[in-house]
């Protein structure tokens, strides 16, 4: 699968810059993600991972540049949103809903009937676990359990592009393993996945391609191979900035 085949790219960012005051939080000249790729974003804190994902999702506005998803320019029309399922953090949940109600809200937004949403949600029951199934309000769930609901909300509509920001954070060991399985399922389904994480093992395990960010720039773009984990460890052991 080619990394830079822009035509037909699922995600295409061009000249993307986000500046806060005098600081360049992100500067990406060109990023193309082909359909079906599972791309991991890694980098130190403040490297620009979340900024990049927020720009791709039109949650913040770029200082310069454009993002296109499936050929549709983000921000111009909302049509691209139907192709994307995303979860960033628990702040994006509706905290006064119960998990099943939230998932039905998400399903409804993507045009799924309640019965179909419930059927799909049932396939995530093992990942969600008993604490979520107990049906309390989202605001009363632990961060990890709330994140599980958000992750399922992103996957449940079976979108063409899945965007997850540090989904492994706060999850218990079982759920981390479960999430690996879910991401492999997405890969098998042919979905394009963008996932940021500090967990190099999970990223290398699950992703087909790894992007390394440092100082708001993509400093490494590499396919995930058996050697990748060692290379990344060596890179971050040296401070996580290019030599």
């Amino acid at each position: 699968m080619s990394h830079d085949s822009s035509p037909g790219a699922s995600v295409l960012a061009t000249g993307l810059v986000k500046r806060y005051g005098e600081t360049d939080a992100l500067s990406v000249e060109h990023l193309a993600v082909a359909p079906g790729e599972v791309v991991g974003l890694v980098g130190n804190n403040g490297a620009g991972k979340t900024t990049l994902l927020r720009l791709l999702l039109d949650l913040i506005r770029p200082t310069a540049g454009t993002v296109a998803i499936d050929g549709m320019t983000v921000g111009r029309s909302p049509a691209w949103k139907m192709r994307v399922g995303a979860f960033l953090d628990a702040g994006f949940l509706v905290d006064y809903l119960r998990p099943d109600e939230y998932l039905r809200l998400v399903g409804g937004a993507y045009g799924l009937a309640a019965a179909e949403t419930d059927r799909r949600a049932a396939t995530y029951a093992a990942f969600l676990g008993p604490a979520v199934a107990a049906g309390g309000f989202l605001r009363d769930l632990s961060t990890g359990n709330a994140n599980k609901v958000g992750i399922v909300g992103a996957l449940l509509p079976e979108p063409g592009l899945v965007v997850l920001d540090e989904p492994f954070a706060n999850l218990d060991p079982g759920a981390r393993i479960g999430l690996e399985g879910l991401l492999r399922r997405e890969r098998a389904r042919g979905a394009t996945v963008l996932v940021s994480s500090h967990d190099l093992d999970h990223v290398v395990d699950v992703c087909s391609r790894v992007l390394v960010l440092a100082g708001g720039r993509i400093v490494r773009d590499t396919p995930s191979t058996p050697d990748t984990l060692g290379e990344l460890r060596a890179f971050f052991a040296g401070g996580g900035v290019p030599a």
Partner: protein, 452 residues
């Protein structure tokens, strides 16, 4: 429980307004036969709208509250903005005045001036409400991000509306249809601005436009342990975080607006009482939010030895400092507009410092979930629940009761005396609040352990 009470309050307010709108001529014929209902409403409309707008600023939610969840769903941002703007209109501040206006128009205006004027009256009132509503939406969504622009837009819209109403005689004047049309045009324009403001506010980076100032090094706090360190952290929180800054700006604006009203126009209410509620805006909001805002950020720091005492003292000091600073600003207004009012101002500030500030800080520890923050300030039911509301209402009742019971002069002296006593007792307040905070932190920790 509180939701039910609020619902009942809404129904009561709407029903009362509707009854008043229908029965106002009858009521006046009994109590003041020489006074025309149309004159009363015509004269009261603009002042009432001013009070209503102030009430909205104090109590109406930020419209974008809870909207972030929808930004990740396949919903157009503009649609989300429209939805939250419409949701924000469903408030007692719109429902009650309309409930008054419709029966008043159907009966009184129609009988006196005909159907077309009655329709114009209702449309005009709706337009005035829309101006007030959209002004507050713009104010609440953009004040923190673009203060100058926001004050200019809201000020121009309100001033323009007042000018139209005064020049044309209002929606009960000689040309009610024209007035309604002109105010409606202002409302539509402001509605468009409000919609754009909400769309802007739905971007996660909708912050101040000016460049961030470089961080001064060497003042990071804990090399100077204790109260000063917490004050230092609070200052950074307020100056660098949009939401607390919005609350502070809101409180300052309200304080000065009410004070200017008290000094300039006067009122049948004692000046000292108006000033208590003016200065109290800062005292109560600073007091109520001091602990909830800070504790979420500083929870870990509170485990340091001696930190809880320093923390509480810093909160009280900040709230008292903010109140006194606003008092100084009000004094400038007083000297410019009503120099004789300085004694009223002194009494009000003393009462706020000695009573409202400690009651508000203590009250914030009475809520079941004190480490949470809501988007409204002053009696915010979401965080404060019933006990803190009762505590503040009791303090407010003292403020209202003293001048009413003892007269303006004695009442002012009594308020100053009560305030001075409370201010002298601030160390005792601090210890009581510290004990509450300590007990609550242990209760929260125990609840957390039991959930594991």
């Amino acid at each position: 429980m509180l939701a039910v009470l609020k619902g009942l309050g809404l129904v009561y307010a709407v029903a009362t307004a509707a009854a008043l709108g229908f029965l106002l001529p009858d009521t006046l014929s009994v109590w003041a036969p020489d006074v025309s209902a149309l004159d009363v409403v015509g004269q009261a409309l603009l002042p009432a709208l001013g009070v209503l707008t102030l009430g909205r600023v104090l109590f109406q939610d930020v419209p974008t509250r809870g909207a972030a969840a929808f930004l990740l769903l396949p919903v157009d941002r503009r649609r989300v903005a429209r939805a939250v703007t419409v949701r924000a209109t469903l408030t007692v501040f719109n429902a009650a005045p309309l409930a008054f206006a419709v029966p008043f128009a159907l009966r009184t205006v129609r009988e006196t001036s005909g159907v077309s004027d009655a329709v114009a009256f209702v449309v005009g009132v709706a337009a005035l409400l829309a101006v007030s509503h959209f002004a507050v939406v713009v104010w609440k969504t953009r004040l923190g991000a673009a203060p100058g622009e926001t004050v200019a837009v809201v000020g121009a819209a309100l001033a323009g509306t007042a000018a139209i109403a005064l020049a044309s005689g209002g929606v009960l004047g000689a040309t009610p249809a024209l007035t309604a049309a002109l105010v409606g045009a202002v409302a539509l324009a402001l509605g468009a601005v409000a919609h754009r403001s909400v769309v802007e506010a739905l971007y996660l980076d909708a912050g101040p436009r000016q460049a961030r100032r470089a961080v001064r090094s060497g003042t990071a706090g804990f090399e100077r342990a204790g109260v000063r360190a917490f004050l230092d952290l609070d200052w950074r929180l307020v100056t660098r975080t949009r939401y607390p800054r919005g609350i502070v700006l809101n409180a300052v604006a309200m304080t000065l607006a009410i004070a200017a009203y008290a000094f300039w126009w006067g009122s049948e209410a004692p000046t000292v009482l108006l000033l208590v509620f003016s200065t109290g805006t800062v005292a109560v909001s600073a007091g109520q939010f001091a602990l909830p805002f800070a504790s979420g950020h500083y929870d870990r720091l509170l485990t340091l030895p001696g930190a809880p005492a320093a923390f509480v003292q810093a909160k009280l000091a900040a709230a008292v400092g903010a109140t006194v600073a606003l008092g100084a600003l009000q004094l400038v207004l007083a000297l410019a507009l009503a120099p004789d009012a300085w004694a009223d101002l002194a009494g009000a500030v003393l009462f706020c410092v000695g009573v409202l500030v400690p009651v508000a800080v203590l009250g914030s520890t009475l809520a079941p979930k004190p480490l949470d923050v809501a988007d409204t300030f002053m009696s915010s039911s979401r965080i404060q629940s019933l006990p803190p509301q009762i505590a503040l209402a009791a303090a407010g009742a003292v403020a209202v009761g003293l001048p009413l019971a003892l007269g303006p002069d004695l009442g002012r002296a009594a308020m100053a005396a009560v305030g001075a006593a409370g201010a002298l007792g601030l160390p005792l307040w601090a210890r009581a609040i510290e004990a509450r905070v300590d007990r609550q932190r242990h209760a929260v920790a125990a609840r957390f352990r039991s959930d594991l």
